[in-house]
């Protein structure tokens, strides 16, 4: 029993991280149809800014560094939209995808050129690794924080989307952007808001990714975003609820395979995960939470 609870907690914290990132991808996709593969670099920027602040000033209080990291992520996300993605806003999806790949390569190599290819260590507070006994299982502080932060962030996002005008505009834009513009809402503002929210989620996820690894390097964002991308598609790309479900589902799937696969073939875990993901996509191309599209609907 204790073991089961332990693993469920593991799945929740891994899944929570995927859910944050999947949501960040989905919110941008739903508004402007961009598959943002440069999202991993937003994570890297958050990490490097925290590293730079620490290296220059010597401040190693997590309370100071964390907000700085999140602000940096929001800033770079908005900046990338302005500089790179606005020119290709109305282009086909493949153009946006390639632009995102290009941005990703540029930012990555910017760090390689100016900092180093090798990883740089960032101070992580010791108390993150403390274990708390919660009766049925022992849980690390970081896991607890991660799951809580994910829950709070999701709640906050739901409030913004449901209770504010800009949230309403974003939800409407996800359905029909032309209509939103026709009723007089500033397109640039809605898109900037979507990128800001997306950046915030990346910043939050970045903090936990870095807290686990203890180091930053130019390529740190790649794998998490790849997983998040799969999670978002699994949930139904563009569906915000779907991204969250997909994230937690993928987290659970990984933990599940980690447990059931015998050690001799545990290296194949990712292969199993991706086979299952493919099966689900073939079974439900619109994703777990997506709405079924008929031929001839918009976007087909």
């Amino acid at each position: 029993m204790e073991y089961v609870v332990q693993q469920i907690l593991n799945a929740l914290s891994i899944g929570g991280n995927y859910a944050l990132l999947a949501l960040g991808l989905a919110i941008v996709f739903s508004v402007i149809g961009l598959v943002n593969f440069a999202y991993g670099e937003v994570i890297a920027v958050a990490g490097y800014v925290m590293f730079a602040v620490f290296a220059v000033s010597g401040i190693d209080y997590a309370v100071v560094l964390m907000p700085i990291g999140i602000l940096a992520a929001v800033g770079i996300s908005i900046a990338l939209e302005r500089v790179a993605f606005r020119p290709v806003r109305y282009a086909p999806a493949a153009t946006g995808l390639l632009t995102a790949f290009g941005v990703s390569i540029v930012v990555k190599n910017f760090f390689v050129t100016l900092v180093a290819t090798r990883s740089k260590s960032v101070p992580t507070p010791e108390w993150l690794a403390y274990q708390i006994d919660i009766g049925l299982a022992r849980i690390q502080v970081i896991q607890l924080l991660e799951t809580t932060a994910t829950a709070v962030a999701l709640l906050l996002l739901v409030l913004i989307l449901r209770r504010t005008n800009i949230g309403l505009a974003m939800r409407a834009a996800a359905r029909d952007f032309d209509m939103v513009r026709m009723v007089g809402i500033n397109a640039n503002k809605v898109i900037a808001a979507a990128f800001a929210v997306s950046g915030f989620l990346a910043g939050l996820a970045a903090i936990f990714i870095i807290a686990r690894r203890g180091v930053v390097d130019p390529f740190m964002g790649f794998t998490p975003v790849l997983k998040a991308f799969v999670a978002a598609v699994l949930g139904g790309f563009g569906s915000l609820g779907g991204a969250v479900v997909g994230g937690f589902f993928l987290g659970a799937l990984e933990v599940f395979f980690q447990i059931v696969l015998p050690p001799s073939i545990s290296g194949y875990r990712d292969a199993f995960v991706f086979v299952l993901v493919s099966v689900i996509l073939v079974w439900r191309p619109e994703g777990l939470m997506g709405t079924k599209r008929q031929f001839g609907d918009k976007d087909e």
Binding site: P92, A93, A94, T95, F101, N109, I265, A271, F295, E300
Partner: protein
């Protein structure tokens, strides 16, 4: 001029530039430059292979490099002398450790194997359209890479397999590349290619006109994988060794960038894309290695080639989203411009008569 003739002339025109470059480098270049040329020709084959599916169906394919990997590994394992295999992969399944064959037979076997895998995978991939299909190709890339890394008895895992006979030279690669240019152009212009491109623009319209979209996509997928597999086999015969990291995201993104930069809907676009990116890369590599220009020693800039590659993608997407060449083949756009011009002059002539 019949359609077939036009296709042939167009392909010949497209092949002209790579042939000229290759002859120039082989005649004047040193060993290192011939090596760059060889990699360039292999990239050309890979990118045209990618174009045959992606350019005609407009489905972004992230999984093509897996067929390069399957064929590359198959060719390597079949051709490495048994004596070397006894030391590096003594426990290879199916008695492969004691088995050995010539490079040509092995290459053909490897390509057939890759196409068989493509056929099975293709039945699934071609069911989907758009982003779901792209994710399936991405899943394929990850799955094949995971298997290559983990099937240690057969592939030696992350470590390289070496001892492959280095049978590929620049002439062979040039011959194959030119052949592939003709194949790609013929496929694009064939009735099948036209049906494919129609289904890429609007699946529903193509289906209502009687196109069996899944079947034509499957054929394109298998053919495209076969060409990419050829690239993989030649790559292994050129390098003489093989390791899983050559068949993952770096190669995927590089070839994808080449294709989209040039213009993914045409063979001329694929060719121009490979030329531009390779040239840019080599120039940047020169600056990266702290060169001395006019007596000034420049500092070393690691990451400059990558920076350049990214920048060129972003800029070309912003300025020319359809690629340098655009949607049509070069000869097609020239033909159109000439027709426009002659119409304009004849119109002007008739006006002056009146």
């Amino acid at each position: 001029m019949t359609g077939m003739q036009r296709t042939f002339k167009g392909a010949a025109l497209t092949a002209l530039l790579p042939i000229a470059i290759a002859l120039l480098v082989i005649a004047l270049g040193d060993g290192a430059q011939v090596r760059i040329l060889s990699v360039f020709l292999i990239n050309l084959i890979l990118v045209i292979g990618l174009q045959m599916f992606m350019g005609n169906t407009s489905i972004v394919n992230l999984g093509h490099v897996s067929f390069m990997g399957i064929a590359g590994y198959a060719a390597a394992i079949l051709t490495i002398p048994a004596s070397i295999k006894q030391t590096i992969i003594p426990e290879a399944p199916f008695g492969l450790a004691a088995f050995q064959m010539g490079p040509i037979e092995a290459g053909i076997m490897a390509i057939i194997l890759a196409m068989l895998v493509a056929l099975i995978v293709g039945v699934v991939v071609t069911r989907e359209s758009g982003i779901s299909a792209t994710i399936l190709t991405l899943a394929l890339l990850v799955i094949v890479h995971t298997v290559l890394v983990n099937w240690v008895e057969l592939t030696r895992g992350m470590r390289a397999l070496y001892g492959v006979p280095m049978k590929a030279n620049a002439w062979l690669l040039l011959g194959c590349a030119v052949l592939v240019i003709f194949l790609g152009r013929w496929f694009r212009d064939s009735p099948l290619g036209v049906q494919l491109r129609a289904s890429g623009e609007s699946r529903i319209a193509a289906e209502s006109a009687g196109v069996n979209v899944r079947l034509v996509r499957l054929i394109a997928w298998v053919l495209s994988s076969g060409v990419v597999a050829l690239g993989g086999v030649l790559y292994v015969y050129l390098i003489g060794s093989v390791s899983p990291k050559s068949f993952y995201f770096d190669t995927t993104l590089l070839t994808l960038a080449m294709l989209i930069l040039g213009g993914m809907h045409s063979i001329s676009g694929a060719v121009i894309g490979v030329i531009v990116v390779t040239a840019g890369f080599e120039i940047m590599r020169y600056f990266e290695s702290s060169p001395v220009i006019f007596g000034v020693k420049f500092p070393e800039f690691l990451g400059l080639t990558g920076f350049f590659l990214g920048l060129i993608i972003v800029l070309s997407m912003a300025l020319r989203p359809k690629g340098v060449v655009g949607t049509d083949e070069i000869d097609e756009s020239w033909e159109r411009r000439r027709q426009d011009q002659s119409e304009r002059t004849s119109a002007a002539a008739s006006r002056s008569h009146a």
